[in-house]
C-alpha cells in the first residue's frame, strides 16, 4: 500500500496542484506535502500526492557507494566485474 513512484513535475498549477509525468503518463497530483517542489524536480508520488522531492545526486551517490564494495573494488568497478563475468570477450560484454 505504501508504494510510491518517481514522477517529474511538469507544470505547477493553481490550488497547489501540479501536472507530473510518470513514465510518460501525465497525472495531476497535489503538492500540499512538498510546497518547495519546482518544475523539473523529481518527486515520489503516492495516491495522488507528492511525498518528497527526490534527490538525484543522492541516488547516484548510492550507486557510487555500491561500486566500492569489495567485489567491485578495483578501479574500473562494475565494468571490470562485467568483463570477468563475460570472460573478457567484448562481444559478450555488449550482450551482458
Amino acid at each position: 500500500m505504501c508504494l510510491a513512484i518517481p514522477a517529474r513535475v511538469v507544470t505547477k498549477e493553481d490550488a497547489n496542484m501540479a501536472s507530473v509525468d510518470i513514465m510518460g503518463v501525465t497525472r495531476k497530483v497535489s503538492l500540499d506535502l512538498v510546497p518547495e517542489a519546482n518544475e523539473g524536480d523529481y518527486v515520489l508520488v503516492h495516491a495522488g500526492f507528492a511525498l518528497q522531492v527526490v534527490d538525484e545526486e543522492f541516488a547516484n551517490e548510492t550507486l557510487d557507494l555500491l561500486k566500492t564494495l569489495p567485489f567491485f573494488a578495483d578501479e574500473a568497478g562494475i565494468d571490470a566485474a562485467l568483463l570477468e563475468e563475460a570472460g573478457t570477450d567484448p562481444a559478450l560484454v555488449e550482450e551482458a
Partner: protein, 367 residues
C-alpha cells in the same frame, strides 16, 4: 529518472556474494524481518529468499496495513456502508478483506454504495459532486498515507465541504516494532525498515531499536539491488557488533523525513491506542482525529454499532504477521485459502505475506 542500475543483475550478484561472505563470517543463524508490504512483494517477486545463505532467514512482519487492520475496524467500515445516503470510498485493496460477517465487496454486491478511489482527493471531489450524500473515506494505512488524509481534511475544511469525513483506522510503525522485539515468541536479529513510511518520518523514530534493544535497522528501497544492499548493510552491522539505524534508500529518505507533512499530521491527528491483528492493542499506535476536526470524523458524525467481532476460523494470519508461522505452515494455505478465494487478510491483499508466497514461491519445495 533511470532506475535500471537498481535492477542490474551484475550489481545484484556482487551484493549476493558480499552477503554470503559476511553471513559466513557471522556463522550463526540470523533472522531479518521486513515490515512493509512492498518489501514483502519485492523479496518474493525477485526470488531473494532463494539466494540467501543457509543461515539467513527473511521474515515478513506486520507490514501490510490491510492485513493488520482488526476485524472490528473492518466491521465498522461495513456498518458505515449500510447507513442510508452514505457513500463509502476506499483504496482497492480493502474491498475484499473479510470482517467478522461480510466485506465491502459483498456489501457493494448487495447494493450499498461502495467505491474504489485512487486518492483521498477523489473522495473529496465526489463529496462536492454529491452534496446530498455523506462521503466517507476509509482511512487505512501507515505514516506514508496519513499525511494525505490530513491534507484532504484540511482541504475539506478550507473549501467548506461538510459532507466529507474519514474513518480513521491508521497505524504507526515504530511502536509496533517495539512490541515485536518485546514478544517472547518472536526472535528478530535485524529489521529491514520501510522506505516510504520513512520518507515521511525519517530515521530518528527508529533509533530506540538500536539504542535500547541493540537491534540494527536499515531503511531500504524497493528495487532488487536496494533490498540486497539493505540486507548486506544489516549483516555488516551484526558482523561488526554494531547496532545503528542506517539509510540505504537515500534517493527517497532524508534523515528528518518530511517535516512539513509531519506538521500537517500533528495538526489534524492525535495518538490513540490501536488494535493490531495478531499483536493486540499497542498504546499510541493509532491516529484519532482531533476534536477541532470532529466534523470530519466519520464515527462521530455517523455513529454505528456493529455486532461483536468474531475471529476467522482456522486463519493464522495473526501468527504469520509476527513471523512465528510461515504462510505455508498455515493449515488453510493453498488448501481452501487462495488469492481467488481468500479466507484471511494475509491472502486477500496483494501485499499480504500469504498472497506473496502463493504467487511467487515454490512453497511445495520450501515446506
Amino acid at each position: 529518472m533511470d532506475l535500471s542500475a537498481f535492477r542490474d543483475p551484475t550489481i545484484a550478484r556482487g551484493l549476493i556474494e558480499a552477503i554470503n561472505d559476511t553471513a559466513g563470517k557471522l556463522g550463526r543463524p540470523v533472522k531479518i524481518m521486513e515490515v512493509c508490504g512492498t518489501h514483502t512483494v519485492a523479496i518474493a517477486k525477485n526470488g531473494l529468499r532463494g539466494v540467501m545463505p543457509d543461515n539467513v532467514t527473511l521474515l515478513s512482519g506486520p507490514g501490510c496495513p490491510v492485513c493488520v487492520t482488526a476485524n472490528e475496524d473492518i466491521d465498522i467500515a461495513i456498518e458505515l456502508a449500510r447507513q442510508p445516503d452514505v457513500i463509502v470510498t476506499t483504496f482497492g485493496d480493502m474491498m475484499k478483506v473479510p470482517g467478522s460477517y461480510s466485506s465491502l465487496a459483498k456489501e457493494k454486491a448487495e447494493g450499498r454504495d461502495v467505491r474504489i478511489v485512487y486518492s483521498p482527493l477523489d473522495a473529496l471531489s465526489l463529496a462536492e459532486k454529491e452534496p446530498t450524500k455523506q462521503v466517507v473515506f476509509v482511512g487505512v494505512g501507515f505514516e506514508t498515507t496519513v499525511p494525505l488524509i490530513a491534507a484532504a481534511i484540511l482541504r475539506a475544511k478550507e473549501a467548506g465541504i461538510e459532507n466529507f469525513s474519514v474513518f480513521a483506522a491508521h497505524k504507526t510503525v515504530p511502536a509496533a516494532l517495539e512490541a515485536l522485539v518485546n514478544d517472547p515468541d518472536v526472535q528478530i536479529d535485524a529489521f529491514i525498515l520501510p522506505g516510504h513510511v520513512s520518507t515521511i518520518i525519517g530515521q530518528h523514530p527508529y533509533e530506540f531499536l538500536a539504542e535500547q534493544y541493540h537491534v540494527p535497522g536499515v531503511i531500504t528501497g524497493f528495487e532488487p539491488v536496494d533490498v540486497l544492499q539493505g540486507i548486506y548493510m544489516l549483516l555488516k552491522q551484526l558482523e561488526e557488533g554494531r547496532s545503528e539505524i542506517e539509510i540505504a534508500y537515500h534517493r527517497g529518505v532524508m534523515p528528518e523525513g518530511n517535516p512539513h507533512a509531519l506538521a500537517m499530521v500533528e495538526q489534524v491527528f492525535e495518538p490513540v491506542d490501536a488494535d493490531w491483528r495478531g499483536i493486540g492493542v499497542i498504546p499510541g499506535t493509532g491516529l484519532g482525529i482531533r476534536d477541532e476536526y470532529a466534523a470530519f470524523d466519520a464515527v462521530k458524525k455517523i455513529p454505528v454499532t456493529p455486532p461483536p467481532p468474531k475471529a476467522i476460523k482456522g486463519c493464522q494470519c495473526g501468527e504469520v504477521l509476527r513471523g512465528i508461522t510461515l504462510p505455508f505452515q498455515c493449515k488453510l494455505f493453498a488448501r481452501g485459502c487462495t488469492p481467488e478465494h481468500p479466507i484471511g487478510p494475509c491472502m486477500v491483499s496483494s501485499e499480504g505475506s500469504c498472497a506473496a508466497y502463493y504467487r511467487f514461491t515454490d512453497y511445495g519445495k520450501t515446506a
